[in-house]
């Protein structure tokens, strides 16, 4: 099973653009939009065994400008349908 998750990223004020650039370089993550200041909408498509919680933990641990990850959607994609 693969994982598809939508989530909102909250950053320190003004940090959204920098965080977006960084997120976009990570495998499986696409930034879909933002408010231009402190919030981003993103999607993560992970392979087998991917975990939204692990991703959130890694992102929060690696970027001090990041204040929170708020998932809005978590779906499992069956492998045979991909």
């Amino acid at each position: 099973m693969s994982l598809v998750a939508g989530f909102v990223v909250e950053t320190l004020p003004g940090a959204a653009e920098r965080v977006a650039a960084r997120l976009s370089r990570l495998p499986g993550i696409s930034v879909e939009g933002g408010d231009g200041n402190r919030r981003l909408a993103a999607v993560w498509t992970a392979g087998r065994g991917g975990s939204m919680a692990e991703l959130a933990e890694q992102l929060l641990a690696s970027d001090p400008d990041l204040l929170g990850i708020y998932p809005t959607f978590v779906g499992n994609g069956a492998d045979e349908e991909e």
């Binding site: 939508g6 909102v8 320190l12 939009g33 919680a53 929170g68 998932p71 809005t72 978590v74 994609g77």
Partner: protein, 750 residues
């Protein structure tokens, strides 16, 4: 064009995230197809986030945040993944009874017959106090109420306690001693008005993420908003801190006294407020003066406090100045870092002192606000009086008039309610150990993992002389594995009842689906047990709504009065805050405040009335620094502190059932400062054994760069690596809450 399932999911995920920029967590409804939505409340922490439960083909398939509730539609990952716990493989589906050492499946008839006969026999043979009930801040209000009434007025014992004793008893006793009444006077909305946040002993970013988000938003939107975090550890909460004040565990009483010292020395006290609304006290008597207080605080000049606490004096001064600056609203928030201490009540008193000295209380953005760990610890257990020393809605066991009142309300003969308070959590399990308590009914909680010094009490629970009944939605747990009877309980959306969260907000959880297997709501199980014990007249309820209607009558006329919260109104509302004494009343955002609190007369000459205390004066208590029960020494040279992580909750019985969360920090690690690890010769991932005077456990090391040397942190959620083998079961002498947060340990290579 072929649209694969992954394409569909990806589009749905993007749509939901983009929609969330305007209204978070709402888009799931559209993304998951036709479902019915039932209004409810999150099952996890004490924030009480409103949500809707999505049901498709009789199964819970989704949740979405309630945009009309205080959480504005936001949920944390745990809340969003609630559907996964409902059909977990370890859902407990059938009654079990222990035979020849093994738990075997039996009928409800056999299980309930056995429970009733054993409790009846023990009470008759050894007296009423040979039986007890250990409940939960996760049970519904109606469930806790029925258990409370059955055990006190039916079985005639006050041995009714619960896990809120482990997490918030010190907060309750702090409010009670300072203001005369329990529960916060402020509300979540105060976050939107605060100019200064004093977050003490609370890791909101992980334990209360939705409230933390609201604090972070206020910090960025308000003018010059400051966030002060007092915590030995550098947690994710400190990311937004303007000042993170780290200190030696157990020395925050000195820091809080030093802040009061600065407030008085620099003229930041509101003398008019103090004259009108404040008394001073020591011990349990309000018989001291402001001068006496000044004398005590003379010992807590910032330099002296900094020496005690291992922090910088200028940081204490800065914190005090920010807190005390005139015209700026100050909100304090705390949880287990203050509460789980042998001087937890004192620590709570000292936070209240700062508000009372400055008059920063009862105004928008100015309030002392204790955060809560469980969804119904406040509503069902604290307010409902399901703790050993309490009776419902502010009444006390030790108060003869209160007992008489409850006897009248419950329609039982005078003298039915025993005058002696029952045994508080740890004492209850010690009584089991001593063989005095013969039968214990545990509902919706997991003491076999969560009690401090847990191996001691696991032996007692498993002992031949005790009869342990566990009503649980999951099996096995570290408690149900020890039980003589395990009853399958319905979970969350499978039943109906009320939750009351940290801000006095009561909300109705409506039933959305049927329980699986033979599981039943605890309400039904307790009502049946009452009948089997011969107390059917005492517990005549057919539905939780019938019990709720009685609860409204029991609360009427008390300082908790929420008699206007009819079932129908709760169904319609997105949470209601008490006092709410009439059907048309809007609820009370700020207690004790004229024009808001219906218990303060409209003609009261001042803006505030602390009606819970004699003379309507809240008390500034004189409390010196007091060390924790155990401090490091040559043999046990490090501090151990325990706590939470964002992905998991309590003993993990629910969150480990979410695939997402199971892979994220489910394993407890020994979080150490790199200096301590280097001294020991270990690196991240290496196994270490942590040993205290009580027990030991093995963990892998994780390194925390921002941590404090000399402090090891382990989270409490792992059911295989039990941090509570190590923790201390010393308790606060007033609140009887254990000191989970501090004990002395040694760490060795394993």
């Amino acid at each position: 064009m072929k649209v694969t399932r992954r394409d569909f999911l990806r589009t749905s995920a993007a749509a939901s995230a983009l929609a969330a920029l305007g209204s978070p967590c709402r888009a799931l409804a559209e993304a998951t197809g036709p479902v019915t939505w039932t209004k409810s409340v999150c099952r996890y922490c004490g924030t009480g986030c409103g949500l809707y439960v999505g049901v498709k083909n009789g199964k819970v398939t989704a949740v979405q945040g309630d945009g009309d509730n205080h959480n504005a539609g936001f949920l944390c990952l745990k809340g969003l993944l609630l559907p996964e716990i409902m059909a977990a493989p370890d859902r407990h589906l059938h009654p079990l009874v222990r035979r020849n050492g093994k738990l075997v499946r039996v009928s409800w008839e056999e299980a309930m017959g056995l429970v009733a006969s054993r409790f009846k026999e023990a009470a008759e043979k050894f007296g009423p106090d040979a039986v007890g009930f250990y409940g939960s801040g996760q049970a519904l209000t109606e469930e806790s109420y029925v258990a409370n009434k059955l055990f006190r007025a039916g079985l005639r014992t006050n041995n009714v306690d619960g896990n809120p004793r482990l997490c918030m008893a010190s907060a309750a006793a702090g409010y009670l001693s300072t203001y005369g009444k329990d529960e916060p006077m402020g509300c979540y909305e105060d976050i939107d008005h605060a100019d200064v946040f004093l977050i003490v002993g609370a890791n909101m970013a992980e334990a209360h993420p939705v409230l933390f988000r609201r604090v972070a938003r206020r910090r960025e939107q308000g003018k010059g908003v400051k966030v002060i975090v007092l915590d030995p550890r550098r947690t994710p909460t400190s990311r937004i801190a303007d000042l993170h004040l780290s200190f030696t565990p157990g020395t925050d009483l000195a820091i809080l006294n030093a802040m009061a010292h600065v407030l008085l020395a620099e003229g930041m006290a509101d003398e008019e407020f103090v004259r009108a609304h404040v008394a001073f006290g020591e011990g349990t008597e309000a018989n001291k003066s402001l001068d006496d207080y000044r004398k005590l605080l003379a010992d807590y000049a910032p330099a002296r406090a900094a020496e005690i606490a291992g922090c910088r004096a200028e940081d204490i001064v800065t914190a005090a100045r920010w807190f005390g600056e005139q015209g700026r609203a100050a909100m304090s928030m705390w949880t287990q870092g203050l509460n789980q201490r042998t001087r937890g009540v004192w620590a709570n008193n000292l936070v209240h002192n700062l508000h009372l000295l400055t008059g920063k209380i009862g105004l928008p953005g100015s309030t002392p606000f204790s955060l809560t760990g469980q969804p119904n610890a406040c509503g069902g257990v604290r307010d409902g009086g399901a703790l050993a020393h309490l009776l419902p809605y502010g009444r006390l066991v030790a108060n003869e008039k209160h007992r008489e009142e409850m006897e009248r309300l419950w329609g039982v003969p005078a003298g039915t309610l025993a005058p002696k308070p029952g045994l508080a959590a740890v004492d209850l399990f010690r009584s089991l150990e001593e063989g005095k308590l013969k039968c214990l009914y545990v509902m919706c909680t997991n003491p076999g993992q969560s009690l401090p010094n847990v191996d001691r009490y696991r032996k007692a629970m498993a002992g031949d002389g005790s009869f342990l009944v566990v009503s649980e939605a999951f099996h096995p747990t570290r408690t149900s594995e020890l039980a003589d009877v395990v009853l399958p309980a319905a979970l969350w959306a499978e039943k109906e009842g009320v939750y009351g969260c940290a801000e006095r907000r009561y909300q109705l959880l409506q039933k959305a689906v049927e329980p699986p297997g033979e599981a039943r709501p605890d309400f039904d199980i307790l009502c049946e047990l009452a009948g089997r014990l011969g107390h059917g007249k005492l517990i005549p309820f057919k539905t939780p709504e019938e019990a709720w209607n009685e609860i409204l009558r029991v609360a009427k006329g008390t300082p908790y009065d929420f008699s206007g919260m009819t079932r129908e109104r709760l169904r319609q509302a997105h949470g209601l805050l008490w006092p709410l004494p009439a059907a048309g009343h809007p609820g009370t955002r700020r207690r004790y405040v004229r024009g808001e609190d219906p218990l303060v007369p409209a003609a009261h000459p001042q803006r505030i009335q602390f009606y819970g205390r004699p003379g309507a004066r809240a008390v500034v208590w004189l409390r010196p620094q007091k060390s924790p029960e155990e401090v490091p020494d040559a043999v046990y040279p490090l501090y151990l502190t325990t706590g939470r992580v964002i992905e998991h909750w309590h003993t993990g019985t629910m969150t480990r059932n979410c695939r997402e969360l199971r892979h994220a920090r489910a394993e407890a690690t020994a979080e150490m400062h790199p200096q301590d690890a280097a001294r020991l010769g270990v690196e991240g991932g290496d196994p270490v054994r942590i040993t205290s005077r009580r027990g030991q456990e093995t963990f892998r090391v994780s390194l925390a760069e921002g941590g404090r040397p000399g402090v090891v942190f382990v989270h409490m959620h792992d059911d295989r690596r039990l941090c509570n083998r190590i923790t201390i079961d010393a308790v606060d002498p007033v609140s009887r809450q254990p000191e989970y947060k501090i004990c002395a340990v040694k760490v060795e290579k394993a």
